[in-house]
């Protein structure tokens, strides 16, 4: 029996470390783990304040916008689906929109790409329920029930 049969792959181990870093709010350590040509994509532009495309140099702006708009009360990583240099991560998060006090809960799916074996993450796309987030910010009153 292989004692390492359940050990995470190098890519998954890296992402587990990165999510822990994010949870601690240690953005400089996160950035050091990313490829210099990393592109970080957040959907929801121009309505959600944290939406846009970021590089390692501008990633701090994303976390600043996120923390200005929302207080997070939960952030759970549930599963990793990996093939080659692609890793899909499933999770949930919950919080409150600071401007409105509205609670927010969403499933999220992250797509990461690595720059080859032993390489660093070079691509990130966050898929979230943008309508849910916008409703929490009361950007979307007519669709709050969708």
């Amino acid at each position: 029996m292989n004692a390492n049969a359940n050990a995470p792959s190098p890519h998954v181990a890296c992402l587990m470390r990165l999510y822990g870093t994010i949870g601690q709010g240690d953005i400089p350590s996160l950035v050091r783990e990313l490829s210099p040509d990393m592109r970080w994509h957040i959907m929801g532009a121009p309505y959600l304040p944290q939406a846009g495309e970021y590089t390692p140099d501008t990633l701090g702006q994303f976390f600043q916008a996120l923390s200005t708009a929302f207080v997070f009360t939960a952030f759970d990583v549930q599963d990793f689906i990996e093939r080659g240099d692609d890793v899909i991560v499933l999770g949930t998060s919950a919080g409150v929109a600071r401007a409105t006090g509205n609670a927010w809960h969403t499933q999220w799916i992250n797509h990461w790409k690595f720059a080859g074996a032993g390489g660093k993450p070079c691509y990130f796309q966050d898929y979230i329920d943008t309508a849910n987030a916008a409703a929490a910010l009361e950007q979307l009153p007519a669709l709050a029930g969708l």
Partner: protein
């Protein structure tokens, strides 16, 4: 890599979404599949609910086309990134048709057992969809 699961998922998009064969959904989805992220208000459970979703979107966008941009499979799980395009010529969740076209990207994650989808998670830019249809106002200037 699980090529059988990849084939199942690719055939599902081609058959149900792109050909509009809603009645064929049972070939791909288990009767009691669990949808962790219901896509329409009041979506019933299981395969019946999946058909409600397919019908809602295909009624609103009769020319709806899904392009599977990438699949990532690992054991019994498979993720599909897609781009969906269509023109809103039918009623959509109670809203009248707008006549506008939309392009959205999204991702769906499936767990497969017994050759069928038994769990689904998914997310797409719903806000982007509504913005393209013109059913939400432009954001306020900051």
């Amino acid at each position: 890599m699980n090529t059988q699961n990849e084939t199942l998922v690719r055939n599902f998009y081609a058959d149900v979404w792109n050909q509009g064969h809603i009645d064929a959904a049972g070939k791909y989805y288990a009767e009691d599949y669990v949808d962790h992220n219901p896509a329409v208000p009041g979506q019933p459970a299981g395969l019946v609910g999946a058909k409600v979703v397919f019908s809602a979107f295909l009624t609103a966008f009769p020319d709806l086309t899904f392009t599977v941009d990438q699949v990532v499979s690992d054991g019994d799980k498979i993720a599909a990134r897609y781009t969906a395009k269509g023109k809103n010529t039918g009623s959509f969740v109670g809203m009248p048709p707008t006549g506008k076209s939309m392009v959205v990207t999204g991702i769906e994650l499936y767990r497969i057992a017994g050759g069928k989808v038994v769990e689904r998670w998914g997310s797409f830019d719903q806000f982007g969809l509504m913005a393209q249809l013109g059913t939400i106002p432009a954001p306020a200037a900051s």
